[in-house]
């Protein structure tokens, strides 16, 4: 019998070939063919679907399904190699630690030449169809094989083989038939759904695909029209024609290689020759490179960060957390920068504390709002500044909006972040944190009737008020002068409150802030 084979494969519309988790294999030496669809939300499904296909077509004795165990061993070995790499991502490690498996569907087909029969196995929503030559009725004559039960509905939860242990899902389906003229179609779920829906028309169309380009053009059109789900799509088409001899002869073979598609695409993206690496590594490296090119920027990943050396603590769950985490791994540069700024802030606070000529008792309370020690230090500085204003009639208080803003706040990020957005907001936020501290203190003082105490927390004035002897000796002129001074201070405080409210308004997010976000869409 003459056997012509065509095979085409493509990825989801928004992804790269290197993202494709479908795979197929064929082995003319033992007349074996296989197709598999890796479940995209599982752990390295691409490796798993490939291992299933390769091991199936390589094995001679298929009924005992030992090839699954061999595929599992290979997958595990590949994963260990990935995890052992120095810059493996934290989420890759997390899934490895959880022993997350890969999952994949499976359809296998074998021609037993001596017996002139065929055998097939299927688990999941990938399908085998056999369309006899000269068939008349799709529903009555076309053989369908998968583990999906009637009525067939496609969803995100197919049966599968697991790459770890025996946690497979579903019941393996098998079929045996006589080798006769006709066409075998092995395909993954998106095409299977289209095929079942299109029936005779779908058969005719599939038979017209001559090469990968025609196949991809058709898939793209049908996805756009909504007639084909935008998913990885793979199909093997094997046409059997009778010959005088019973020997299977492979007349034409047009099977697209996924690895070649990946390499070619990488070439187009980078415009350079691809690296000379073994096949599996090529796939992984191509993926890593192409990810950068497609705008998914590889920002500084925390894989090479320094670890602190805090002692381990008991395990903690979200609701029952008793301990802080055992250690923190900072983004190296960011952590160093914050530490450096904290030191500068501390020094500035110390200098500020030196300014008053007479001793001042710090009366501010610890701020419980933030754990950020920078804020606490800043409040201390501001409280002293307020006191200074009350002493020196307003000049220094205005520094809240002047020197303080310009000299301290610009040096100081609030959050350790790598991106550049929101700097304006952050600066304003730092500014408002200080203003808010002062405002809250003043508001509290006014509400609680402590205004007089707050405003009067001036050692010289207090000393004089506490000393009736001194007061009685004041001249009228001096008393008048003091009253004028208090009035002036009061006005300046009111002015600062007005200015603070204006700043508050300025804290509302601007159109620019929204634009910075929408630019990322």
């Amino acid at each position: 019998m003459n056997l012509s084979i065509k095979g085409f494969i493509t990825c989801k519309g928004a992804e790269l070939y290197s993202d494709c988790a479908d795979y197929y294999s064929s082995n003319p030496d033992n007349h074996s063919f296989c197709i598999s669809d890796g479940v995209s939300k599982s752990f390295f499904p691409k490796l798993w679907s490939k291992n299933i296909c390769d091991k199936f077509v390589q094995t001679e004795v298929k009924d005992n399904f030992q090839f699954i165990g061999e595929a599992q061993k290979q997958w595990q070995s590949q994963i260990e190699e990935i995890i052992a790499q120095p810059h493996v991502k934290w989420y890759t490690k997390a899934q490895y630690n959880k022993r997350s498996p890969a999952l994949a569907t499976f359809v296998g087909l074998e021609f037993v030449e001596n017996d002139l029969k065929w055998k097939a196995w299927a688990l999941g929503d990938s399908f085998l169809f056999f369309v006899p030559k000269n068939y008349k009725d799709f529903d009555g004559e076309v053989i369908k094989l998968s583990s999906k039960q009637e009525p067939i509905e496609f969803d995100n939860f197919p049966d599968y083989y697991s790459s770890i242990g025996k946690n497979h899902k579903g019941d393996l389906q098998t079929f045996e038939g006589k080798l006769e003229e006709g066409t075998f179609f092995l395909m993954t779920d998106a095409l299977a759904e289209w095929f079942i829906s299109g029936k005779e028309k779908a058969i005719d169309i599939a038979n017209t695909w001559k090469d990968q380009i025609e196949f991809e053009d058709y898939v793209a059109t049908e996805r756009k029209n909504g007639n084909l789900t935008d998913d990885d799509s793979a199909i093997l088409i094997m046409k059997l024609e009778s010959t005088p001899t019973g020997v299977l002869v492979y007349s034409t073979t047009e099977i697209t290689s996924l690895e070649e598609l990946i390499q070619k695409q990488e070439l187009e993206i980078r415009g350079t020759e691809p690296l000379e690496l073994p096949e599996e590594e090529n796939v992984l490296s191509a993926e890593a490179e192409s990810r950068e090119e497609f705008g998914k920027e590889e920002t500084n990943t925390p894989s090479g960060f320094e670890e602190t050396t805090e002692p381990p603590s008991e395990p903690s769950e979200l609701l029952n957390e008793e301990n802080v985490p055992t250690s923190r791994t900072e983004l190296g540069q960011g952590a160093e920068k914050v530490q450096e700024v904290e030191i500068i802030e501390y020094e500035l606070v110390q200098e500020e504390m030196k300014k008053p000529e007479f001793p001042i008792e710090e009366t501010q309370e610890e701020i419980p709002r933030q754990e950020n020690s920078i804020t606490k230090k800043r409040f201390g500085k501001m409280a002293l500044s307020v006191n200074q204003v009350l002493y020196e009639a307003g000049t220094i208080f205005l520094n809240i909006f002047g020197e303080s803003k310009n000299s301290e706040m610009e040096q100081e990020p609030i959050v350790e972040k790598n991106n550049e957005k929101g700097e304006i907001i952050k600066n304003e936020a730092v500014q408002v944190t200080e203003i808010e501290s002062v405002e809250n203190q003043l508001d509290t003082a006014e509400k609680d009737g402590e205004n007089a105490e707050l405003l009067g927390n001036i050692p010289e004035v207090e000393k004089k008020e506490d000393n009736p002897t001194c007061e009685s000796e004041k001249s009228e002129g001096l008393i008048e002068s003091e009253k004028k001074e208090e009035s002036k201070i009061q006005k300046e405080v009111e002015s600062s409150i007005t200015q603070e409210k204006t700043v508050r308004e300025n804290l509302k997010p601007t159109n620019e802030a929204a634009k910075q976000i929408t630019n990322k869409f």
Binding site: K41, Y91, A94, A514
Partner: protein
């Protein structure tokens, strides 16, 4: 069916978290954690789950864009973009990683202790007032921008987490402003239906209320306000709600008032489920 479009790399979903970072979020909540700290950890944990769910091993599929918008966190009536990005960017650059000890199966029937790394994306902040209306106004701008660029994508989902009534510092206009801003969002039309707003109020141990059809039985202004600014739970999300142990009817609004810690976690997970997409 509205709000049923699945998240995919070609048509990612959009979740906007509005996070109350007012001073009152410093109050104790559970097991030595304050409200702000617990909320931050719940959000960090949820994003971690999203990353692992949408990971194919060494690459994260950008099936969702996430905005973390804090209000009050920088003091006063501030509204801040804490972070807005695609999922893979969150995965590739968390603020830091924290190590916790965890016991996992060794595959042979036993348990081994491992170091698990938990990513941190948002810090605990409790500072200013509660400009919820302003935060919702800003959210509308984001949603308008999303729709103009992604008209065929799933309708955005807003999850608002707060511990109090909206307050801007003077007067009592903020609640009305909040209602108007929310209505403006709920009235937006997309190819996938209206955007969804789900609200959770962090409680103080009082009885929880939520997912009701009518506000007639609600006991206080807080829960009545949440009712007014919450979407009806669409059919595509009802299974997700039930999976997370919420009882609801066809006309239930997606909110919980006086949420305890467990309810808060469940609500965040429900709201970020993308409907049926993440149910396994």
């Amino acid at each position: 069916m509205n709000n049923s479009k699945q998240w995919s790399s070609a048509t990612p979903g959009y979740i906007i978290f509005l996070i109350d970072q007012s001073g009152s979020m410093a109050e104790d909540y559970t097991n030595g954690q304050d409200k702000a700290g617990f909320t931050a950890r719940a959000i960090n944990r949820m994003i971690n789950d999203l990353i692992l769910t949408n990971s194919a091993g060494d690459k994260i599929k950008d099936r969702v864009f996430i905005s973390l918008i804090g209000y009050g966190g920088s003091g006063g009536n501030s509204v801040d973009d804490v972070r807005s990005d695609y999922l893979s960017s969150f995965a590739n650059s968390p603020l830091r990683l924290e190590k916790v000890k965890k016991k996992v199966s060794d595959g042979a029937g036993g348990l081994i202790e491992i170091d698990e790394e938990m990513p941190i994306f948002i810090e605990s902040i409790s500072n200013g007032l509660t400009p919820m209306g302003e935060a919702l106004k800003f959210t509308k701008e984001l949603i308008d921008g999303w729709i103009s660029k992604k008209p065929d994508n799933p309708a955005p989902v807003v999850i608002n987490i707060s511990d109090g009534l909206p307050y801007e510092g003077s007067g009592d206009e903020e609640p009305n402003k909040t209602i108007v801003a929310a209505q403006n969002i709920l009235n937006i039309s997309t190819a996938d239906g209206n955007p969804l707003i789900f609200n959770v109020h962090i409680g103080d141990g009082k009885q929880e209320f939520g997912f009701v059809e009518s506000d007639s039985t609600l006991p206080d202004d807080q829960s009545k306000l949440l009712f007014k600014i919450s979407s009806k739970v669409p059919e595509s999300y009802r299974d997700a709600a039930r999976k997370h142990d919420f009882s609801l009817t066809n006309d239930s609004r997606g909110f919980v008032s006086n949420a305890g810690p467990e309810t808060l976690i469940q609500f965040i997970n429900f709201g970020s489920s993308g409907g049926t997409d993440r149910i396994v």
